[in-house]
């Protein structure tokens, strides 16, 4: 097992782009390789060693044997774990845009908040965010109709707008509240929201499941109330309690389902 520790020593006002610093690329790098590496900042590249002290311990023969630990203020570090296929990344701070975007394997643990586009178009692996996440988590790139297609995103805090936009597989679990339009244009997969949802979940969804344990302040007219189910099994997972099943979105002839906690959403029934 190889552990690569990044200790921040200088903060850049212009974001550093870490898309080349993933286990797939650095598993066989030595400390001297990191010292030579020039990190993209704006339209230029600057020595990574100006911004981070790097410690390398152990050896790895594949990305799976790499653990990257990032310490410091990472609010201006973008694309952490972007396109990674294996290995492990742990950040001990909040992170900037596109964390875990297009990742297909491995795991990322964010001990803080994540900016927008976390887990964008990810196809596999695990992304765990201990704090809040901003907009378009697990979403698609602008114009694409496929967002996240596999893997698991767990958010321990709240989620911003358009969570799981165009979700086409995988699972997103939000343990806090969620802003508007969760699961818009959703094609497949599962979104679980333990807290409240502001309004309009599942707009224009075609398929997949959204489970909301909290209350929904405003619900779209284009869903049909189906049945009330006790302790349902949804996408292979068991849920306890009474849930109201809605199907839609009928404006797109969708066959998606939204499961609302019956107890918390009496105002919609």
């Amino acid at each position: 097992m190889k552990t690569i520790t990044f200790n921040q020593k200088k903060i850049s006002s212009i974001a550093l782009e870490f898309d080349e610093l993933i286990p797939d690329e650095v598993f066989n790098w030595k400390k001297s390789d990191f010292d030579k590496y020039m990190v993209p900042i704006g339209n230029s590249r600057f020595p990574l060693s100006d911004y981070f002290d790097i410690e390398v311990e152990g050896e790895a023969e594949s990305p799976a044997q790499v653990k990257m630990v990032l310490n410091g203020d990472l609010g201006r570090v973008k694309y952490i774990g972007c396109k990674m296929t294996d290995g492990q990344i742990v950040t001990n701070s909040s992170v900037d845009l596109h964390c875990g975007a297009e990742m297909s394997g491995g795991s990322i643990l964010i001990n803080g908040d994540a900016e927008s586009y976390a887990g964008r178009e990810m196809t596999g692996g695990e992304l765990e965010i201990m704090g809040n996440v901003k907009e378009f988590c697990g979403a698609s790139y602008i114009g694409d109709w496929r967002g996240m297609t596999g893997g698991i995103i767990t958010i321990h805090g709240n989620a911003g707008k358009q969570l799981g936009e165009c979700l086409s597989g995988g699972e997103i679990h939000v343990k806090g509240d969620c802003d508007i339009l969760a699961g818009i244009h959703m094609n497949k997969g599962l979104i679980r929201i333990d807290g409240d949802v502001t309004r309009s979940p599942g707009g224009q969804m075609l398929n997949g499941d959204i489970v909301i344990n909290g209350s929904v302040s405003r619900f779209l007219e284009s869903f049909n109330q189906d049945e009330i189910v006790l302790d349902p099994t949804i996408a292979g997972k068991s849920f306890l309690g009474k849930y109201v099943k809605f199907t839609g979105d009928i404006v797109r002839n969708g066959k998606g389902t939204i499961w609302l906690s019956a107890e918390k959403n009496r105002h919609l029934l």
Binding site: I14, A15, G42, N43, Y117, L181, S200, L220, I250
Partner: protein
């Protein structure tokens, strides 16, 4: 309104000029010229006429550089251009913003310069119809020309737009009042609907006003689509509108011969942002199963659409195009001017034919006050107060010719009517000159290494 005497004291007339104000690009204007100044404009609205006639009001006439005391002082073109080129060549995160009030020819030079230095090129869409462009990328663009609306439309819907105030000739020239080939009686052959939370001047001119509640756009459009599909609505009131009204409107829209939906910033800037436009586009797609419907965004500046069309054609992305890695990238929230400024990433900012000082949020302007700003414009404005280098340009469509794109995507050639002030330069020339000087600086740096 007081009676104004017609202008009779002029030297010559220039006909078929194009207005350089809003996205209507009215190309039927007549300029009355005296002593190489436009002293009168025929056919234009008050907004367009005042912009054209008051071209010398607070006009920037000579290049200026801000000195150490913080005052803008006059300088010569070479000094100003060299200083600007030096700043651009040394920048790590330069942003070139604006472009919507200049010509496509200038944008062409801008792309060349931006690509060579790894800049972000962005225009006013980032604070207006950007969400519309995102929605178009998601759901398509069922657009028609304004000529088709004039000749065919028997139902016109304005949503989130107050055309009477923002585009004063829109209803008179293209949509509500003109007699068209299939609409011989003009206004009497058309039904005008305004969907807007406010009872605007446009709503007052309409047959039907649907005043849904603020931020209720997405739910309202979804209910309208559900009604068009024949679903029985369960909620009695949807976004503040009784369900009977929604059903009646859906039926009326299905039973028109040709309809057009004009949407403005009321839709792009409310809660669901691009998803409102997305729902609007899908509404049009749904309606086309029954009859013919299209939509057109109510673009603001006369060439804001031009930048988006030109950038999409040249670079694949409509706005917020980032060349920092050597190839074009585009990501909302990441490569847009406001985000870059509020995140304090930008180190050199060039504003071309725009006024961020007047329109940007405080956080963005605060950062602009802390970094070098280069302004290419014709008038003194709040941005001039932020600028460190001022390069006076020319008035496209009055002093220089150029190409622009109307709100419906029709390209229009804007002719020159008068000569520009001697000390000013064409925008195109300024950007080209900056490119040449930046290349020279970069060449010298490579040689010295």
């Amino acid at each position: 309104m007081a009676y104004e005497e017609p202008i009779r004291d002029y030297d010559r007339i220039v006909e078929n000029c194009t207005c350089a104000f809003c996205g209507c690009n009215c190309d039927d204007l007549t300029y009355l010229i005296k002593d190489e100044h436009v002293v009168g404009v025929r056919h234009a609205c008050r907004l367009g006429a005042s912009k054209i006639m008051e071209d010398m009001d607070q006009r920037l006439l000579v290049p200026m550089i801000r000195n150490e005391e913080g005052n803008l002082v006059e300088t010569d073109w070479d000094t100003a251009l060299d200083k600007a080129a030096e700043l651009i060549a040394g920048a790590v995160r330069p942003v070139f913003y604006g472009w919507s009030e200049t010509s496509i020819e200038t944008m062409k030079q801008g792309i060349k310069l931006g690509e060579s230095v790894g800049a972000v090129l962005d225009n006013q869409a980032t604070i207006c119809h950007g969400p519309s462009l995102q929605a178009v990328q998601n759901s398509g663009y069922p657009v028609n020309t304004l000529g088709e609306v004039k000749n065919r439309a028997d139902m016109v819907v304005y949503t989130g737009s107050n055309a009477m105030n923002s585009h004063p000739r829109h209803m008179g020239r293209y949509s509500a009042f003109p007699r068209g080939y299939f609409r011989k009686r003009g206004r009497f052959d058309r039904t005008i609907v305004t969907m807007d939370p406010r009872y605007t001047d446009t709503a007052k001119m309409s047959d039907i006003w649907v005043g849904f509640e603020p931020n209720g756009d997405y739910e309202f459009y979804t209910a309208l689509r559900a009604a068009i599909k024949g679903k029985e609505l369960k909620q009695e009131v949807i976004s503040g509108i009784p369900k009977e009204t929604v059903v009646e409107l859906a039926e009326a829209m299905k039973n028109t011969q040709y309809g057009c939906l004009f949407f403005g910033l009321g839709l792009t800037h409310s809660l669901a942002k691009q998803r409102n436009i997305d729902a609007g586009i899908r509404l049009i797609q749904d309606l086309n199963k029954y009859t013919k419907w299209n939509l057109v965004p109510m673009r603001g500046h006369f060439n804001v659409n031009g930048f988006n069309i030109f950038m999409s054609f040249e670079m694949g992305y409509p706005y917020g195009v980032d060349f920092s890695r050597g190839y074009p990238r585009y990501m909302n929230g990441e490569t847009n001017t406001i985000d870059l400024l509020t995140r304090e990433e930008v180190d050199v900012f060039m504003v071309i034919a725009a006024d961020p000082g007047a329109h940007f949020p405080g956080g963005a302007n605060r950062h602009l006050a802390n970094i070098p700003v280069i302004q290419v414009d014709i008038h003194w404005g709040p941005s001039t107060e932020l600028a460190d280098i001022v390069l006076p340009g020319s008035f496209v469509g009055v002093e220089v010719a150029g190409t622009s794109y109307r709100m419906d995507g029709v390209p229009i050639y804007m002719k020159k009517a008068i000569d520009k002030p001697e000390t000013c330069r064409d925008d195109e020339w300024i950007i080209k000159e900056l490119y040449d000087r930046v290349q020279k600086i970069k060449g010298e740096r490579i040689a010295s290494k």
